[in-house]
C-alpha cells in the first residue's frame, strides 16, 4: 500500500513532536512525499526559509533515520541537514550483568603459624563476582605471581637464563632470589629431575628440595612434578607429606594420571590441588567433578589450570577457553567457578620470544630478542588476566614487574599523578 503524505498534512502530523520521541516508530508501507504543492525542491525552499519546507526537511530526516530511501525517492541531491547551534543534552547509562550471581570460590594458599604452617603470610585467590576489573561487582583479591624454580639446571631462553646463572644449581638460593629481587608473591618448585627419562630422582630425594625451599622463603609455594604421569603421584605424595600443613598448591592432578592419589595427599596434609586439563572446558568440568565427588576434595582446595598456549601459538584457544570457563562459573556453574592459574612461562616456547631473528627474509626486522622475550610473556599473561586468570607462573623478572603493574592498575590498586591527555595530539615525543 502506498501512502501519500501531503505537505499540508505535515503540520498536524509532526507538529510539536520531538524528533527523539519518534525513534522506534515504524511506518508501514511506502512513504511518499508529494512535493507538488510546493513547486520547488526542499533545499531551495529551505534556503528561502519557507516554513512548510522546513517541516518537510524534518520529515525527510526522520524518514532517513528510519531507513527510508528518501534521497532516491526525491531523485535530488541529499538535503542540506539542519545545523544545530547547541549540543543535544543527554545522559549515558548502562546496566550491570544480571546473570553474574555466583562468586568464584575463594582459595587460600599458604598457612601461617596460627594455622599450622610456617609461612609469614597467605595469599587468597578468587572471590570475583564479575569478569576481571569490571565494575559489576567487587574483585576482592588482586592477581598474584609465582616464579619458577627448577631442581636442576634446564634449558632456558638466553634472556631468561642470564638472570639465574648464579643460582642455577641451588633451588633454595634461586627461590630466595625471585622473592627478594624480583618481587615474586610465591615460588614454584618444579621437581623435573624426578622424570625417569631425566634423572629419575627418588620422591624422598625430591622432597628434600621442597623442604629446602620452604626454609629458604616464607611465601606460599607451588610444588610441581615433572609431568610424568606414572611418576608424579609418588613424587607429589612425598612432597605433600614433608610440607604438611603449609597449604601448598600441588601441580597437578590431571585426567591422564592417578589424580585420586594427588587428591588424597592434599586432603591428608592440608594442601590445595591444581586441576589441570588441556584446553577443553568439558574435560575441566569432568576433572573438577571427580575431584569433588569421587575424591572428596573440598571446594576451597581446588584451583584450575585450563592450559596456557603462547601468543601466536594457540593463545586464541587458551583465551577463549578461560573466558568461557569464567563466564560459566559466574553464571552459576558450580563445577567451574574456581580460581585459575596459568603456565605463562609457555610464552617462551614461541619463536618470536627466543629466536635471534626471523627465519624469513620477507619479514620486517624482528629487532633485539632480549626485548621480544619478556613482552611475549607479558602479553600472553595479560590477555589471560582479562579472561579471568588469577595466578601466573612466570620466569622473566621484567615480565613479572610489568604484568604486576598493569594487573594491579586495572584492579584499582595503583595511584599515580594525574596526566592531562586533553591535548595529546600536540605532544612532543
Amino acid at each position: 500500500m502506498t501512502k501519500k503524505i501531503k505537505l499540508s498534512e505535515l503540520g498536524s502530523l509532526f507538529g510539536g513532536i520531538d524528533v527523539q520521541a519518534l525513534e522506534g516508530v515504524k511506518i508501514e508501507g511506502d512513504v511518499e512525499i508529494d512535493l507538488g504543492q510546493l513547486g520547488m525542491n526542499p533545499q531551495m525552499a529551505y534556503a528561502l526559509g519557507h516554513e512548510t519546507a522546513q517541516l518537510a526537511l524534518h520529515l525527510m530526516n526522520i524518514s532517513r533515520i528510519l531507513g527510508y530511501p528518501v534521497d532516491q525517492m526525491l531523485g535530488a541531491a541529499p538535503a542540506k541537514p539542519a545545523r544545530l547551534s547547541k549540543l543535544i543534552e543527554s545522559r549515558f547509562s548502562v546496566g550491570k550483568i544480571e546473570e553474574w550471581k555466583t562468586p568464584i570460590q575463594e582459595v587460600v594458599l599458604g598457612a601461617t603459624s596460627s594455622d599450622g604452617g610456617t609461612r609469614k603470610s597467605t595469599i587468597t585467590l578468587g572471590g570475583e563476582t564479575a569478569l576481571p576489573y569490571y565494575f559489576d561487582g567487587p574483585m576482592p583479591h588482586r592477581n598474584h605471581i609465582t616464579m619458577d624454580v627448577f631442581d636442576m639446571p634446564i634449558n632456558m631462553a638466553k634472556a631468561v637464563k642470564s638472570n639465574y646463572e648464579d643460582v642455577i644449581n641451588s633451588p633454595a638460593e634461586w627461590a630466595k632470589k625471585v622473592v627478594r629481587d624480583f618481587g615474586a608473591d610465591m615460588v614454584t618448585i618444579h621437581l623435573i629431575s624426578t622424570d625417569p627419562n631425566i634423572k629419575d630422582t627418588s620422591p624422598a630425594e625430591a622432597a628434600k628440595t621442597v623442604e629446602e625451599v620452604l626454609q629458604a622463603v616464607d611465601v606460599p609455594i607451588v610444588i610441581g612434578g615433572s609431568g610424568n604421569p606414572e611418576k608424579d603421584p609418588a613424587v607429589l605424595e612425598k612432597a605433600a607429606e614433608v610440607a604438611e600443613g603449609e597449604r601448598c598448591l600441588l601441580a597437578s592432578a590431571s585426567l591422564n594420571l592417578d589424580y585420586a592419589r594427588i587428591a588424597e595427599a592434599a586432603k591428608k596434609h592440608n594442601h590445595v590441588v591444581l586441576s589441570w586439563t588441556q584446553l577443553e572446558i568439558n574435560a575441566q568440568k569432568e576433572l573438577n567433578r571427580k575431584l569433588m565427588k569421587q575424591c572428596g576434595v573440598a571446594r576451597e582446595n581446588i584451583i584450575m589450570d585450563p592450559t596456557t598456549a603462547a601468543l601466536g601459538y594457540g593463545l586464541d584457544y587458551a583465551y577463549t577457553n578461560m573466558e568461557r570457563i569464567r563466564l560459566a562459573g559466574l553464571s552459576g556453574d558450580m563445577e567451574l567457578n574456581f580460581p585459575m592459574s596459568s603456565g605463562t612461562t609457555n610464552a617462551w616456547g614461541a619463536r618470536e620470544a627466543w629466536m635471534v631473528s626471523s627465519p624469513l627474509k620477507e619479514d620486517s626486522d624482528w629487532g633485539p630478542r632480549e626485548y621480544r622475550g619478556p613482552i611475549w610473556e607479558i602479553i600472553t599473561g595479560l590477555t589471560l588476566s582479562l579472561a579471568g586468570n588469577d595466578l601466573f607462573m612466570m620466569m622473566h623478572p621484567t615480565a613479572v614487574q610489568v604484568l604486576k603493574e598493569i594487573t594491579q592498575t586495572l584492579y584499582g590498586g595503583k595511584e599515580s599523578e594525574p596526566v592531562n591527555i586533553d591535548n595529546w595530539v600536540a605532544a612532543v615525543i
Binding site: F92, V94, P359, D365, I375, W376, L386
Partner: protein, 469 residues
C-alpha cells in the same frame, strides 16, 4: 543484528531457490546471512526493483549492532566496527582493530617519509599471510594550519594507507582536508568546544569523524548532535589515560560503551571506539619502557573493544606482539584454520629430494613450509588431513595416524617408486611414536626429524641423503 534465526531472514528473501547465490536454497543462504559469512548483495534476485522494499528492510535488520564505517579509499580502505557480540566465542569479532602509527608536522620531511615507509612496509609472516598495520595518523604539533596541511600532503604522497588527521583546531583540519579531500581520511577530533566547526567539516567533506570526551554524557551528547545533523560515520574516543585509577576508569568506559551498544542495543552510542595507547609516551620518556607500556595498553584495548587505535612505537618488540594479539582476538573461532590436504612441492624437488610429512593445521603447515622454502630445501611436503590440528595434539587425539598418512599419498597418486630414489619419508619429531606403524602400513623407510621444523636444515646436513640400507 536484529534477526537471530535463518527463518526470520528467509521471510524477506525471494524464496525461489534459484541457487544463484551459490547456496541450493534461500534457507541455506539465510543461515549464511545470520553467521555473516555472506552478504545480502550475493543474492542477485533481491537486487531487482520488485524486491527493493524487502531489500532495504533486510539490510537494516541485518546491520551489525556496532556501526561499520570505512576509512580511506581503494584497496587500502579499512572498515572498522561491525561487531555483534561481546565475546568472541559467541560468533566471532569482525573488522580487526585498525592500527594507526603517528607522524607529526614538525618532523623534518625526510624523517617523515622514512617513518611512513616503515609503517607502510611493516610485515610479519603468520599462517600463510602477512600481518600488517593499517594507517598513518598525522598530528598537528606546530599549531600552524599550513604546516600541518603540508605534512598531510607529503604523507598522502608517500603512502596509500588511510590517514587520520589529528588536530583540535578546525582551521588546521580544514587546511588538511583541502589537500586530501578525495581520500576519505578520518578526522580527529570534535570536542565539547569545537564541535560546531568540526561538524561543518565532516558534512562538507563527507568524512568520518572522531568525537572525543572522557565524560560519557558529553560523548553521547556529541554523538546525538552529530547524528541529528546527518553525520553517521562517527568514532568515539572516551579518552585513554595511561596510568593509575584513570586508566582503570578508561577500561571501564570501553566496557560500558560496548555493552550499551551490543547488549542493550543503545543505537545512540553504538559506534566504533578509539584507543590512544600513544599516551604511554606522556608519562614514560625512556623508549623501551614507553614502548612496553604502549604495547600493554594496546593489548588491553585490543582484547576489550578498541576498534581503532593510535600508536607511536615502531620498535619491532612492540609491533610484533601488537599484530599477534590482534590476530589472536579476531581469528574466527568457528573454523580451525587449515590448508587443503595433499602432497605439495616446495621448490623444485627431484628423485633425491626428501618427502616430509606434516599436518594440515595452517599454523603448522605454513611454519614448516616457510622453514623449508626460506632455507631453499627442495622437497615434497605432505599435509595430512588432521582436521586442522597440529602435530602433537593430532597424535594425542588420533587424527595423525599411519593409515591417514598412507591415504594422503594414495589420494595424491604419489608413488614413492616413481617419484623418489630412496623410498623414505620423514616424520615430525613430535610424531616419533608413529614410526613403527607407518613403516608397517606403508612399507617405506621412516626417519624421524627434529621436534621443531626450524631445525630441519641442521638435521638434513647430518642425516640426508639417507645411508643405503
Amino acid at each position: 543484528m536484529k534477526l537471530n534465526s535463518p527463518l526470520q531472514v528467509y521471510k524477506y528473501l525471494p524464496q525461489i531457490n534459484c541457487a544463484e547465490c551459490g547456496d541450493a536454497t534461500c534457507m541455506a543462504f539465510a543461515a549464511h546471512l545470520i553467521d555473516r559469512s555472506k552478504k545480502l548483495d550475493d543474492c542477485p534476485p533481491i537486487l531487482k526493483d520488485e524486491y527493493k522494499k524487502k531489500y532495504t528492510e533486510l539490510q537494516t535488520l541485518l546491520a551489525p549492532e556496532i556501526r561499520e564505517i570505512t576509512i580511506g579509499t581503494g584497496e587500502h580502505a579499512r572498515r572498522i566496527g561491525g561487531d555483534d557480540v561481546l565475546y568472541r566465542h559467541q560468533l566471532t569479532f569482525f573488522d580487526p582493530t585498525a592500527f594507526a602509527y603517528d607522524v607529526w608536522d614538525t618532523m623534518p620531511e625526510a624523517e617523515l617519509v622514512e617513518r611512513i615507509n616503515k609503517i607502510t612496509n611493516f610485515r610479519k609472516f603468520y599462517v600463510g599471510k602477512f600481518l600488517r598495520v593499517d594507517m598513518v595518523a598525522v598530528r598537528c604539533v606546530s599549531g600552524d594550519a599550513l604546516k600541518f596541511a603540508g605534512a598531510v600532503k607529503k604523507a598522502s604522497e608517500t603512502t596509500k594507507l588511510p590517514l587520520i588527521l589529528c588536530s583540535f583546531d578546525p582551521a588546521a583540519l580544514k587546511a588538511a582536508l583541502e589537500v586530501v579531500k578525495d581520500k576519505n581520511p578520518l578526522i580527529y577530533a570534535a570536542t565539547e568546544k569545537n564541535w560546531g566547526e568540526v561538524a561543518e567539516l565532516a558534512l562538507n567533506y563527507k568524512v568520518p569523524v572522531v568525537l572525543f570526551s572522557p565524560d560519557l554524557d558529553k560523548l553521547k551528547s556529541l554523538a546525538l548532535t552529530f547524528r541529528e545533523m546527518g553525520i553517521k560515520d562517527l568514532v568515539l574516543d572516551p579518552g585513554t589515560y595511561p596510568q593509575g585509577k584513570k586508566l582503570k576508569e578508561t577500561f571501564e568506559r570501553f566496557i560500558m560503551l560496548r555493552r550499551a551498544g551490543i547488549k542493550e542495543g543503545q543505537k545512540d552510542i553504538a559506534y566504533p571506539i578509539m584507543a590512544v595507547p600513544l599516551n604511554a609516551w606522556l608519562v614514560y620518556k625512556d623508549a623501551v619502557t614507553a614502548s612496553y607500556w604502549e604495547t600493554v595498553l594496546s593489548s588491553v584495548f585490543t582484547v576489550r573493544y578498541g576498534d581503532i587505535m593510535i600508536l607511536h612505537s615502531l620498535e619491532p618488540y612492540a609491533m610484533l606482539p601488537e599484530v599477534h594479539i590482534r590476530d589472536t582476538i579476531y581469528t574466527d573461532p568457528r573454523t580451525p584454520v587449515k590448508v587443503a590436504p595433499g602432497v605439495n612441492e616446495v621448490g623444485s624437488p627431484t628423485k633425491d629430494s626428501p618427502v616430509i610429512v606434516t599436518t594440515n593445521f595452517a599454523l603448522t603447515y605454513y611454519t614448516v613450509e616457510s622453514d623449508l622454502s626460506s632455507n631453499k630445501i627442495n622437497c615434497y611436503l605432505a599435509a595430512v588431513d588432521t582436521d586442522g590440528i597440529g602435530v602433537e595434539a593430532a597424535v594425542a587425539g588420533g587424527q595423525l595416524t599411519a593409515a591417514k598418512i598412507k591415504d594422503t599419498f594414495q589420494k595424491a597418486n604419489f608413488d614413492f617408486k616413481d617419484k623418489t630414489s630412496h623410498g623414505t619419508l620423514i616424520l615430525p619429531g613430535l610424531a616419533a611414536r608413529l614410526q613403527g606403524d607407518v613403516e608397517d602400513v606403508t612399507g617405506l623407510r621412516v626417519m624421524i626429524g627434529p621436534p621443531d621444523s626450524g631445525r630441519i636444515p641442521g638435521w638434513m646436513e647430518k642425516n640426508w641423503p639417507p645411508k643405503p640400507k
